[in-house]
Amino acid sequence: MSDALNIIKDPTLTYRQELVGLARLGESTDHTLRYSDAYYAAKAKGALCDLNEGPMPFRPRYICPDYELLFKKGCDFLQLDPPADLLEAVNALEIFYCHVPSITTYPVYLGDLDKLLEPFVLKEDRAFAKKVLRLFLRNIDRVQTDSFVHADIGPEDSVTGRLLLELTEEMQLAVPNLTLRYDPERTSDDFALACVKCMLRTAKPSFANHRMFVSEWGEKYAIASCYNGLSIGGGGFTLPRLRLYECALDARSPEDFIENELPKYIDLQLEYMDKRVKFIVEESSFFKTNFLVIEGFVKQENFTGMFGVVGLAECCNRLLGIEDKKKGFGMNPEATALGLRIMDAIDRRVGGHVAPYCDAYGHRYRLHAQVGIDSDGMDDSPGTRIPIGVEPTMLEQLEVNERFHPYFPTGTGDIFKFEETYLRTPEAILPIIKGSLARGLRYFSGYLENNDVVRVTGYLVKKSEIEKLRQNKQSLNQVTVYGKGAQDGGHALDRRIQHHEDCACQ
């Protein structure tokens, strides 16, 4: 069967999912953009991966519009005036979202919803505001049917923030993904605790290290897609990744890897990024004619390329000849130290590369710990994470992660699975989050083991929706299929549960 026919006949795809699949197929027929032979060889080996971005980038991968500007000036192209009340505000956003491109075809950043909507919410009575927000969230879940759709709240407490948390709990939706920007001085314990409670019931929000992001991006940063740090009014051009385990296959020693093999692959990935970035800016029409650019909702100089890595754990284990993962990266100081050396080497080389455009960042790309895709199986763990199934205690896991998170301004994160008793003791989670963020963790996600909405590698899916696919039925959310793949191939839902051990007395 042809690929097109496969898509058309697949009973588990919705109409829109078929359309996206066919569009990708169409894009893959053009090969205008060419890379070096060495690049293709490395890709064929699996050492480099383009995350199926498609050979002809006709828009940046991630776009984070400045929604404040929409509320200030309106939008000519979409014929929207600045909103005067909550209904108009929500309606304007719903319309606007449908016109924000991305790699997924859905908007990956919905705005700092609490800040945007608070002035309008405060003018309404609470019950009415809640009703409007409920319909707003329902619209997002049913129209922007993709778990990489992401909204942010915080760092301050607000009526809108509280309403969004209440509704998130009541509605149990996988979309949108949600992040609290946590700042110990601006986020009250009470609000943070409300977020922890919501996280236990719905697997969101996650907690972003606000101070760390601000130090890299300034106040106007977005958490988009999984956990990606980007500029508001900007975004990410492209995100390819080094599959570090495969990069290490030919290395004779850790030194050989760091001095010879790794630089080779880094340079090939940089070549790929440079060409794509130039193509997006110079050839594709996006930065010339799209209303987002013309009207200033995004600025080309605020985009950067995201240099992704995956599989650091397996790479270190391979280089040190460690076969038993239980004794490897995460549990073994030698492997962790090697991981840091490798990250330093990547950081230095990528940081030394003068990238085209990316003006706001001194013409530099920024590192990203990619969360993995379903086809990675067990060979490459997400980013710098400790492999699923061999995680040490949560304390040891945090200690390792805190050392790796600072490398990744465009995103990294860790996920912790909690058992039932934590529903009664959310106060026991907050100090863990506060402590780890203070010590260098960038992004903390958690969920309760028995929830329907669960976090796979960075995105949320409903276990009940995965079940639908298993029964050959359609799932409205186009990400459910990745969740199924990650569960089957990477055992992504089998991560260690943080639970209490029996004490001596009942």
Partner: protein, 279 residues
């Protein structure tokens, strides 16, 4: 150098007092509760050597009058615990205050405080006084999890450096209490009153056994009336896991039904223990 037998240290616990806590479990307990589900924590190793040969990892040897355990070699099969005829475990570390403190300091950035438990941690009274003094310097709270066998009134030094005690009220009726725990109820009940007076009762706890209507009711009534709204009163369901076989036969092979336990929590609340709930 003061040392104490430590069975294990759990860096993060959400069930040993408020917030996130590091729990330190000491070996050894003066009670011998029928329903103990970690009976290997009751006694200290007597050095009989019975467990040594059966260790598949060669992690055990005899010396210093007791079994010596190589934690790095151990594969955690628990064969030694099943073998030991003395209700002990060779997997115990004799640790100094500094050694315990080193582990506490590691988890300190993420915790609200420390809870000592067991076994019965008050057997290590002198050790606790020193340890708590140091933990306090880290700005963390210290809680004691106790069966009430230690006379807190007679030696109030440990209470002075601890923020509260989580006290078991296992039984009230003397004959039932002796059968259940091997000791009479006098000291735990005296402590219940004393800790309440001193404002140091962090929580009270009672295990509810299946089908023991009269015993359960007497314990809950007595405790609830005294505790009132002063602190949490946890009504705990009996669970047979880990309970020694001989005693499971007597106490029950099944865990206490949730509904049955809820009846007692309701009773406790009606008697004024407003913070009574089932766990």
């Amino acid at each position: 150098m003061k040392t104490a037998p430590v069975n294990k240290i759990i860096p993060f616990s959400n069930v040993d007092g408020p917030g996130n806590r590091t729990s330190i479990f000491f070996q050894g307990c003066p009670f011998n509760c029928l329903f103990c589900h970690n009976p290997e924590t009751i006694n200290l190793c007597v050095g009989c050597g019975d467990c040594v040969a059966g260790c598949p990892a060669g992690a055990l040897s005899l010396g210093e009058g007791r079994a010596l355990w190589d934690s790095k070699a151990c594969v955690q099969c628990d064969a030694c615990i099943r073998t030991c005829p003395h209700g002990a475990s060779p997997k115990v570390r004799w640790m100094t205050v500094e050694e315990v403190l080193r582990e506490v300091k590691r988890s300190a950035p993420y915790i609200d405080g420390v809870t000592t438990s067991g076994g019965e941690c008050t057997l290590q009274n002198e050790f606790l006084i020193e340890l708590f003094g140091e933990v306090k310097k880290l700005g963390k709270t210290c809680l004691i999890d106790s069966n009430g066998s230690f006379d807190f009134e007679k030696d109030p030094r440990v209470l002075a450096v601890c923020d509260g005690v989580m006290l078991d009220v296992k039984a009230v009726e003397p004959a039932w209490c002796r059968r259940l725990t091997g000791r009479g109820p006098e000291m735990p009940l005296k402590n219940l009153d004393y800790l309440l007076r001193a404002g140091k009762l962090q929580e009270a706890r009672t295990v509810i056994f299946p089908g023991r209507d009269a015993e359960n009711e007497e314990t809950v009534r007595y405790t609830a009336r005294r505790v009132g709204g002063a602190c949490d009163y946890k009504i705990i369901r009996y669970r047979p896991y880990g309970v020694r076989e001989a005693y499971r036969g007597m106490l029950g092979e099944y865990e206490t039904e949730a509904d049955y336990a809820e009846k007692y929590a309701l009773m406790a609340r009606e008697l004024g223990a407003s913070r009574a709930y089932v766990v």
